[in-house]
C-alpha cells in the first residue's frame, strides 16, 4: 500500500535524522560561504590590480577552479593530500577547504565584476563635488558595489548548498545518505519508501534554497 508508506517519515526519529543530514551540508556551505566572502573580497580587489603577475596568478587560479569538477578537487584533497603528505584531514575539513577554495574564486570574480562596473564618472563627479578619496569610497563606491554584490553572494550560497551534497562521496552522511539508509533499513516493511523519502529530501532542499533565492530577487529588484 503506497499511501501508507508515508508513515515511514513518522517512524522513530526518521524525519529528525533527515534534518540532521541536511544540516551537515548546510553547515559546510555556511562555513565555506562565510570564509569565501571575506577572502573573495580580497581576491576580487587583487584581481583589479594592473600588475601582470597579479593578473597571471588570478587567471590561473580562476581557470583551475572553473575547469576542475568540484568532485575531483574533493577527491584530490581528501584522498590525495592524505596520501601524498600524510595530512590527516577529516572529510568535513576537506570539504570546507575545497568549497572555500571554489567559493573564493567565484566570489572574487563577482567582486571584481562589481568593482569595475562602477563607471569612472562616478569617481569624477564625486571628486568634482569636493569629496575626498575616502569619502568617495565610503559614500559612493562601496554602497554601489555592495548592492550589486549582495544578491550575487546570496545566489552563490544556494549554489554552494546544492553542490555540497557531493560530500557524500567522501563518506559524509548528509541528507541523501540518511535517506538511503532509511530506505535500505525499511526495504521490506515499506517497499515504496523511496518515493516519500526522496520527495521529502527534495522539499527540504527547496525550503532551504527557495527563501534564499527569494531574498536575492527582492534585493535585486529593490536596488536595481
Amino acid at each position: 500500500m503506497q499511501d501508507l508508506d508515508i508513515s515511514i517519515l513518522f517512524k522513530g526519529i526518521n524525519f529528525l535524522r533527515l534534518l540532521g543530514g541536511l544540516w551537515v551540508t548546510v553547515r559546510i556551505s555556511l562555513i565555506a560561504v562565510g570564509l569565501s566572502i571575506p577572502l573573495g573580497i580580497l581576491f576580487g580587489m587583487f584581481m583589479t590590480l594592473k600588475n601582470p603577475i597579479a593578473k597571471g596568478i588570478s587567471r590561473i587560479y580562476l581557470d583551475f577552479v572553473r575547469i576542475m569538477p568540484q568532485l575531483v578537487l574533493l577527491f584530490l584533497v581528501y584522498f590525495g593530500l592524505t596520501r601524498a603528505f600524510g595530512w590527516n584531514l577529516s572529510n568535513e575539513a576537506s570539504a570546507i577547504l575545497v568549497f572555500t577554495f571554489w567559493g573564493t574564486a567565484e566570489m572574487g570574480d563577482l567582486v571584481r565584476g562589481a568593482l569595475i562596473s562602477i563607471p569612472r564618472h562616478q569617481y569624477d563627479s564625486a571628486a568634482a563635488l569636493g569629496f575626498t578619496k575616502m569619502q568617495t569610497f565610503y559614500y559612493i563606491i562601496v554602497p554601489q558595489t555592495f548592492r550589486r554584490l549582495l544578491p550575487l553572494a546570496i545566489n552563490l550560497t544556494t549554489r554552494m548548498i546544492k553542490t555540497t551534497s557531493l560530500v557524500v562521496l567522501i563518506g559524509m552522511v548528509e541528507v541523501l545518505k540518511v535517506g538511503q539508509q532509511i530506505i535500505d533499513a525499511n526495504r521490506f516493511d515499506y517497499p515504496n519508501a523511496a518515493l516519500w523519502i526522496y520527495g521529502v529530501v527534495f522539499l527540504l532542499y527547496f525550503f532551504v534554497c527557495w527563501p534564499i533565492s527569494l531574498i536575492a530577487r527582492k534585493l535585486e529588484e529593490r536596488w536595481r
Binding site: D124, S125, A127, A128, L129, G130, F131, T132, Q135, Y139
Partner: protein
C-alpha cells in the same frame, strides 16, 4: 559686467604620454562672464575643464581662481573644488541615492552643513528647475534632461563661484536639449561665471560673452560671439563652422 578677473589660465600644458593635448593655453574669465569653448573633437576641451577643477594634473602653466593657484592633489584642492561646479556629459548622478540625497550629500558631508538647511536649499533649487515633484525619485526614474538638470542643481547647491559645463546636452534626445539649455541661460542671466563646452552653435552664440576656439591644444581664436560666428579670423575656425552648415545638394 564687473572687471574683476575670476579665473586665469596661464600657459597651461597637459600631456598624455607623448601626446601634448594642451599646448600653452592662456585666457581669463571675468566675474559673471560666460565663456564658450569651441573646437573640433579631440582638441582638448574636456581636458581643459578637467584641469581647471584639478581632475587632471597640469604638466605646465598655472590656473588661478581668485588669484589662488589650483594644483591637482594640492592641499587646497578640496576647498578650491567647492568653488567650482562641474557638470559632465554622462549622467553622473549617484544611482543609489534619491534626488534630494544626491543634491544634499556633498553640502552635508563636504561642507558640513545641516541636513535641514541643505534640504531646504535643494528643494528651492529643484523648484527653480521644475523638478520639485521628483525630489524623492531615483535617478533611473528620470529622463536624461531631468537628470542633467538635477546634476546642475547638485553643483549649484555647493555655492560655486564658477560653473563648468562639458557638453551637457550631447547625450540627450533632441527634445530634451532645450530644457537643460534654458536652465543654463537663466544661470547666465543671474550673473554666474561659466565656462561652457558645447556643440550647440545657436546656443553658444546666444549665451556667450566670449568665445574661445581651440584647435590641437592651442587657442586659435578668442573673440566675441558676433565676430566669431559672422567673421571667423582663422581658416581652422571657418572650416570648423562650416561643419555645422549644410548646403542643398545639386542634382
Amino acid at each position: 559686467m564687473e572687471e574683476t578677473v575670476q579665473l586665469q589660465v596661464q600657459g597651461l600644458i597637459k600631456r598624455f604620454g607623448n601626446e601634448t593635448v594642451l599646448n600653452g593655453i592662456s585666457f581669463s574669465v571675468h566675474k559673471g562672464e560666460v565663456m564658450v569653448v569651441l573646437g573640433p573633437s579631440g582638441c582638448g576641451k574636456s581636458t581643459l575643464l578637467r584641469c581647471i577643477n584639478g581632475l587632471e594634473a597640469a604638466d605646465g602653466g598655472r590656473i588661478l581662481l581668485d588669484g589662488e593657484p589650483i594644483i591637482s592633489g594640492g592641499k587646497n584642492m578640496i576647498r578650491m573644488r567647492q568653488k567650482i561646479g562641474m557638470v559632465f556629459q554622462s549622467y553622473d548622478l549617484f544611482p543609489h541615492k534619491n534626488i534630494l540625497e544626491n543634491i544634499t550629500l556633498a553640502p552635508m558631508k563636504v561642507q558640513k552643513r545641516s541636513k535641514q538647511e541643505a534640504r531646504e536649499e535643494a528643494e528651492q533649487l529643484l523648484n527653480r528647475v521644475g523638478l520639485w515633484e521628483k525630489r524623492n525619485a531615483f535617478p533611473r526614474q528620470l529622463s536624461g534632461g531631468q537628470k542633467q538638470r538635477v546634476a546642475i542643481v547638485r553643483a549649484l547647491c555647493m555655492h560655486p563661484e564658477v560653473m563648468l559645463f562639458d557638453e551637457v546636452t550631447a547625450a540627450l534626445d533632441p527634445e530634451m536639449v532645450r530644457e537643460v539649455l534654458d536652465v543654463m541661460l537663466e544661470l547666465a542671466s543671474q550673473g554666474m561665471t561659466m565656462i561652457i563646452v558645447t556643440h550647440e552653435m545657436q546656443f553658444a552664440r546666444a549665451i556667450a560673452d566670449r568665445v574661445l576656439f581651440l584647435d590641437r591644444g592651442t587657442v586659435m581664436e578668442e573673440s566675441t560671439p558676433e565676430k566669431f560666428f559672422s567673421a571667423p579670423q582663422t581658416k581652422r575656425a571657418q572650416e570648423f563652422l562650416n561643419t555645422f552648415t549644410f548646403e542643398k545638394p545639386n542634382h
